[in-house]
């Protein structure tokens, strides 16, 4: 196995293009584990941490562009970003421990393709857009369109994600992310939910996005759950309808981490709880 430090994005893309079986290395907190287990056997590791600009968090048209190698710790320490997208930031900050946070990236979390990845439902709820670079140049792809299945994304074999944009949103808006794990940390989501709400002056939800993690082959958006919240002030009936829609959209596996029945129920609970937090963050009062 070769290890190469790419000096810029075109070089990384060229290396990907030239090598079947290449893998990009960001924080390495997924990849190194896979190497150790023998689950990944790349012939070349392309380290993208030295690429200029990949490590930046930049304000852009009222939103934030987060570079591919920005670590969880850096995201957590960014005050303006945290104020604008508290739900995405709390999702990223849930990844691993203090040590893992120093390395793990949000983009790596996305590209690893785990259905239980914590930042992904939050990004889906946020309507995040990934910038994808490949041999043909750059294109912008909604994060929702990148998810394909456990361990799979829609990226071409010579493509990479250089950054993710969290778009601008209205003043009376808020988001939240919650996951269920049997312990309090160092665990994988059994079910999770990201919710992003916009309110009018009277506290009525005018726009909503609800996403679930760990209950389907990829994180999923649940438009029916979002629709249940729109027009409400999160009255019990709206929350119940949201939970029911989440349960209906869930299609989890039964495994050692939780039964399908349990995951399904918890998905609704996580969504309604996240909705309440997002609602208060948006300035609503319950």
């Amino acid at each position: 196995m070769r290890y190469v430090v790419a000096k810029d994005c075109p070089e990384a893309v060229a290396l990907l293009n030239a090598n079947n079986g290449a893998r990009l290395l960001a924080g390495g907190t997924d990849l190194l584990v896979q190497l150790k287990q023998g689950a990944a056997k790349p012939n070349i590791l392309i380290d993208i941490k030295k690429i200029d600009g990949f490590g930046n968090i930049a304000a852009e048209e009222g939103g934030f562009r987060i570079g591919a190698t920005v670590s969880g710790a850096e995201i957590g320490a960014h005050i303006a970003l945290k104020a604008a997208w508290p739900g995405v930031v709390e999702a990223v900050e849930l990844i691993g421990s203090t040590q893992v946070q120093g390395r793990a990236t949000m983009v790596g979390n996305l590209c690893n393709g785990s259905p239980a990845a914590d930042s992904v439902p939050a990004m889906l709820a946020a309507g995040a857009v990934a910038r994808v670079e490949g041999p043909g140049g750059a294109r912008d792809v909604p994060v929702a369109d990148l998810l394909k299945g456990p361990g799979r994304t829609a990226l071409g074999s010579a493509e990479l994600v250089s950054s993710v944009l969290l778009p601008k949103r209205g003043a009376r808006a808020g988001d939240a992310y919650l996951r269920f794990i049997p312990r309090t940390e160092m665990d994988i989501a059994v079910a999770s939910a990201g919710v992003n709400l916009e309110l009018d002056a009277g506290g009525v939800v005018v726009a909503a996005r609800v996403a679930l993690g760990a209950v389907a082959p990829t994180a999923i958006l649940v438009p029916e759950a979002a629709a249940a919240l729109v027009g409400s002030r999160l009255e019990a009936s709206a929350l119940d309808a949201c939970a029911t829609a989440c349960e209906a959209a869930s299609n989890p596996i039964d495994d050692k981490r939780g039964t399908a029945e349990f995951r399904t129920r918890i998905a609704g609970v996580m969504a309604t709880r996240a909705a309440k937090t997002a609602y208060t963050r948006a300035g609503g009062s319950l």
Binding site: F180, R183, K256, F262, V269
Partner: protein, 737 residues
């Protein structure tokens, strides 16, 4: 008994602390030598399979491979228990569980060793398997080993049932007839892992001259020596075993899993061999504790008096015969003074790794079942759970449920301390329940050797033969200092290798502070006797006129007051001229270990929408006899409580239909993490053990016994429904809600 201690009860800084926090301490995997090879073990992917053939030729032909071994490389041994251990280290003829070792390689690097493993061709013929205890006991179950069925067992149980025990007195049926309420329940508990941080590791060197050196991470290097010498057909004297620092054991390192393999590879390759288990191997192939299936029936009168009690315990202990349910049956009702009681137990084999001890082995699950039924009776009869336990508590003079009559014990003191503690009367938050449970452990004495040298500068070196798994070097130094009448920091205690001090039993059974303590006190007495003799010689008076008081020789009798006391340092300084080095040693087998009781209180909050449990408050009361180093004792109580909480809530070995372990790692084998827990408040109770000069009972194991039922009782009271199986993971609690 001595009461006015100078050193005991203080909290000196741990002598092994600096090395451990700076990374200097040498653990099992930390030692390397020139010319060393790296070993890897090939393991069965089948729960049960005949090994039709193993072709190692391709692996042997790989450049850099220096030795390959299989079960055929091991000659038979006479002792059947040693044979089981050997066949657990390396399968012979059949693979008995997922992860069972079938071959091993020693090569010039880990990489080559891994490549060689992939070149070994094993042909398996899968056989029917069984991993559940009740299924394994059923008459039609696939039997792991023929001819080992327990004596006196009928056709209603399979040949996997290797032992049956019964303890008690009176007649439980008579007791049930006297009861106002009788409850009978069936419980299940999962197999759980000790959760030590350090995987097993060793470095073996067995030369052509037949002399061997073995460095390993173990709780008992003399036991390692015995087993390995038998398996390798060596004289014990020719195998020197050195115990490394140990990254946790909790009973899991009281036997061997890899050492005979490393020695055999070294013998074959003619070079030192290092073998380090991965975490996955630790889970698949070392011993967890038993899983259990249990029926408990208890009768209670309206006033809370327990009139009769009966338990049937079925333990699953893995792929070889073992004896452990006995300790469960003995512990089950130990906290109660009962007229009519019986506890029966069955040891059962399954296609799982061979069980090994885990802190109070056998007791926590039995006590969980008993304490759950007692709690349910208290709820049903509207009685206070502590009052009921105080009413029925075993005390000095009680005939225990397992036979002996208790001497001075501290159960009532612990229960009363719990009742008086502010925790017990604190208001409860919503969705929160308060659980109570007693716990018990025997503690143990066993064989021990200690050698003590008085140095010319007035300091003391002490060699013991028990690996220090809980701070015993400090406690032993403290007892030496107390006995000699000198300061703690004048004494340094080390754990000697098998060639430098006499035989010592394994560090288990909460025995070290008790047994090594007695040997230390006796070694000090021997040294004191010699020092008094030297003083008498210098003073030119007879030995009988010299007494040792507060670290110095004093002239007594008609010489009293005529001579200034002579300190240890003064006597030591002239020892070269008064007869040579001064030392003391003691070898023995003290057998008056004192049993220890604990009482735990826990507040458990349950999220009614998710089944998530949070431990909000935890207080653990324990009679330890005498706390030599209270901080270590508190650590033992806290550690035991935490392990028991994990057992109650989320820990379990999960086997699939295919008989394979599904969670061989700490991600899906969930021990509690620090943020899951409140500060566990330990409350030390000291009712001295009359069998130890300072009153020591041993304190390491009792604390893991009460938490299972305490947490379960808390959950039952929080949600108004009771679970009868552990772990109480969120899906199971949500279902019960």
């Amino acid at each position: 008994m001595k009461q006015d201690f100078k050193v005991l009860g203080t909290r000196p800084i741990r002598p092994d602390g600096l090395d451990k926090v700076t990374g200097k301490a040498m653990f099992g995997a930390d030692k390397s030598v020139t010319g060393m090879l790296h070993a890897r073990v090939l393991r069965s992917p089948h729960a049960h399979a005949e090994i039709v053939s193993i072709d190692t030729s391709k692996a042997e032909a790989l450049a850099g491979v220096k030795a390959v071994i299989t079960g055929d490389d091991f000659e038979d041994v006479d002792n059947r228990w040693t044979r089981y251990t050997m066949q657990n280290c390396m399968a012979q003829g059949r693979a008995l569980y997922d992860g069972h070792a079938v071959a091993a390689v020693a090569a010039v690097s880990k990489k080559v060793a891994a490549e060689a493993l992939a070149l070994i061709e094993v042909t398996y013929k899968p056989l029917p398997h069984v991993t559940d205890v009740d299924e394994a006991m059923a008459p039609d179950a696939p039997v792991l080993h023929e001819g080992v069925k327990g004596r006196n067992l009928g056709d209603d149980v399979s040949g996997n049932t290797v032992g049956y025990y019964s303890f008690g007195h009176g007649d439980p049926e008579t007791g049930f007839a006297e009861a106002d309420e009788v409850i009978e329940r069936t419980f299940k508990t999962a197999a759980v892992h000790q959760g030590y941080i350090e995987p097993q590791a060793c470095l073996a060197d067995l030369g052509a001259d037949g002399r061997g050196e073995l460095w390993c991470c173990t709780q008992g290097h003399y036991e390692v020596r015995r087993i390995c010498a038998e398996i390798l057909h060596m004289d014990a004297s020719q195998l020197r075993v050195t115990a490394s620092e140990i990254g946790g054991g909790f009973g899991g390192k009281t036997t061997v899993f890899i050492e005979p393999v490393a020695l055999k590879l070294s013998q074959k390759a003619g070079r030192p061999v290092k073998l380090v288990m991965s975490r996955e191997e630790v889970f698949r192939a070392t011993g967890p504790t038993m899983s259990a299936s249990m029926d408990v029936k208890i009768g209670m009168a309206k006033d809370g008096r327990i009139t009769g009690a009966h338990a049937r315990l079925r333990y699953q202990g893995g792929a070889f015969p073992y004896q452990m349910v006995m300790l469960g049956a003995m512990s089950a009702f130990a906290a109660y003074d009962l007229e009519h009681v019986q506890a029966e137990g069955w040891d059962v084999m399954t296609n799982r790794p061979k069980m090994i001890s885990y802190r109070a082995p056998g007791a926590p699950m039995a006590v969980y079942a008993v304490e759950s039924v007692v709690d349910e009776l208290c709820q049903k009869l509207g009685l206070d759970p502590l009052d009921v336990r105080i009413m029925n508590a075993a005390r000095e003079g009680s005939k225990s449920s397992y036979g002996p009559t208790f001497k001075a014990i501290g159960l009532v003191e612990a229960l009363e301390a719990a009742k008086a503690h502010p925790h017990y009367s604190a208001p409860l938050a919503p969705n929160t329940g308060r659980g109570v449970s007693c716990g018990f452990w025997f503690n143990f004495g066993g064989q021990v050797s200690v050698s003590m040298a008085i140095n010319a500068d007035g300091t003391v070196n002490l060699i013991e033969g028990n690996p220090d798994i809980g701070g015993s070097r400090a406690s032993i130094s403290m007892m030496a200092a107390e006995a000699l009448g000198i300061e703690f920091d004048r004494v340094r205690t080390i754990v000697g290798d098998t060639a430098s001090v006499g035989f010592s039993d394994v560090t288990d059974g909460s025995r070290v502070t008790f047994a090594v303590g007695i040997a230390t006190i006796n070694a000090a007495k021997a040294a004191i006797k010699e020092m008094c003799k030297r003083a008498a010689m210098i003073w030119e008076i007879d030995e009988e006129s010299v007494e040792w008081i507060d670290g110095a020789a004093h002239a007594v009798g008609h010489n009293a007051g005529t001579l200034p006391p002579m300190t240890l340092a003064e006597i030591a300084a002239t020892s070269g001229k008064t007869g040579g080095p001064i030392a003391g040693h003691h070898e023995g087998a003290p057998d008056k270990a004192g049993v220890s009781f604990g009482v735990h209180l826990v507040d458990v909050e349950v999220d009614p929408e998710t089944g998530f449990t949070a431990i909000k408050r935890y207080t653990a009361f324990q009679d330890v006899g005498k706390a030599i180093h209270p901080a270590y004792v508190e650590g033992q109580i806290q550690g035991g409580a935490v392990q028991g909480i994990g057992w109650a809530l989320n820990e379990e070995y999960i086997y699939g239909e295919d008989g394979r372990l599904q969670n061989p790692g700490f991600l899906d084998y969930r021990i509690p993490v620090a943020s899951d827990l409140p500060m566990i408040e330990p409350v030390i109770i000291e009712v001295p053990n009359p069998g130890h000069p300072y009153g020591v009972r041993g304190c390491g194991e009792t604390a893991i016994v009460p938490p299972l039922a305490a947490v379960s009782n808390g959950v039952a009271r929080a949600i108004g429904a009771r679970l009868y199986a552990l772990p109480m993971s969120p899906p199971k609690i949500l279902k019960a809600l």
